[in-house]
């Protein structure tokens, strides 16, 4: 069965996930299933492993143990099949400071196979969607943290990913920015989301499941 065509298989399926950093265990025995189109909210104190979980799902970290499947593919065995299908918004905006916002989006677009007029149209659309069309030609280094976050959100959804992994998506955003972001990374038909946030009230209404991680890397659903 080809990835992306398995509509019955959950978007995410984890069993006994463990991640160690040397002798320290960041995640210990995490397991859950998330159906396609659902939203999982991940809560927990600092150091509980929220970002580690997100980075494993994004294929940026290898699990130390357990089974992880995302969009019908096994991590890490079939990681290469997942590239281009995941939108990741981490603590870093993944933008080159010496390039403009537009140049950064063009860079990411080309790496995801979006070129020419279609690619430029998509970039224009997203720059307007995040309210950055007038600041798109300035170097990223000259932008405020909130503007960089808006560009990072645009970068995250540029290639229309099936799975969104969002670490503190409202970070540094003003009220207008949060509204614009919601239109791009909010609930959407068929798109699965995992959101890490320290603001449960903001996202709980959208969440189909809530996973609370504890210090030591164990998790519980509520």
């Amino acid at each position: 069965m080809e990835p992306g065509q398995a509509t019955d298989e959950p978007a995410l399926s984890l069993a006994g996930l463990r991640r160690d950093y040397g002798e320290r265990t960041a995640l210990d025995g995490i397991g859950f299933e998330l159906a396609r189109g659902e939203t999982l909210l991940v809560l927990g104190p600092n150091g509980a492993g929220k970002t580690t979980l997100l980075r494993i799902l994004a294929t940026l970290l290898r699990p130390s143990g357990g089974e992880v499947r995302a969009l019908g593919c096994s991590i890490p065995a079939e990681t290469w099949k997942l590239r281009g299908r995941i939108g990741f918004l981490g603590h870093e905006p993944l933008l080159y400071r010496d390039l403009s916002g537009r140049e950064n989006l063009r860079f990411h677009a080309r790496l995801h196979g979006m070129r020419g007029a279609d690619g430029e149209a998509r970039i224009d659309e997203l720059l307007a969607a995040v309210g950055m069309e007038r600041r798109a030609e300035g170097r990223v280094a000259e932008l405020s943290a909130g503007m960089r976050q808006r560009l990072a959100i645009a970068r995250c959804v540029l290639h229309r990913p099936e799975l969104l992994l969002l670490d503190e998506p409202d970070s540094n955003l003003d009220a207008a920015g949060r509204e614009l972001a919601r239109a791009l990374i909010g609930p959407s038909e068929g798109r699965t989301r995992v959101i890490v946030s320290h603001d449960p009230e903001r996202f709980e209404a959208e969440a189909d499941q809530v996973l609370r991680l504890e210090a030591g890397g164990k998790g519980a659903f509520r």
Partner: protein
Amino acid sequence: MTPSRIAFATILAKDLRAELRTLQSLPAMALFATTTFVIFRFGLDRTSLSGSLASGVLWATLLFAALLGVNRLFVSEREEGGFDAIRLAPIDRSALFAAKATALFVYLMVLELVVVPIFALFFLGSAAALLPLALVLLLANLGIAATGTLISSMAVHSRARDLLGPLVLLPLVVPLMIAATGASEPLLALGGPGYHRFGTWLAVLSLYDLIFLLVGYAVFDFLLED
């Protein structure tokens, strides 16, 4: 999967554009090399060099100037999340190795366009050796670019990256330097360029380049894994 040639061109264009805007590597490399030639000029108290001495001065200077470029090669990827961006993209990650090696090769060519004439002005009686020397420079640059990119990508994640890079790279380029100086020595002889064993040394350089380009292509994907 995005074709490798598109990924390669995209990453290379990004690097060259950033370097043109910030000039973080090339001016430092050129200034270092020029200053070193000046130091040799007055330190050796010679108005002309030839043979093995000229070859040694030239290649020692170029190698240490190249280290400045090698150390900065992956800085933006480390500090600005470029590694994550590239690992998230549906591309063959060897395109990153090819693009970075090509960028470093370009920096070395530009460096030598500036400083080799300065070297000739300071130490050589004529420019007759420069044309055949260009072939040696080309092949040596390829080897430094391949090896430097490989080592830089490993060292960039270390806290002692500025020390680790040169410590690991310098022993690896010893064969390259032996071949480059061996090829250059007769070219820079007092009576005009000679070609004693020139072909042999070019073959050694080519073999070194081939080996490290293949090694880099083969292992680079694993180096990006966390």
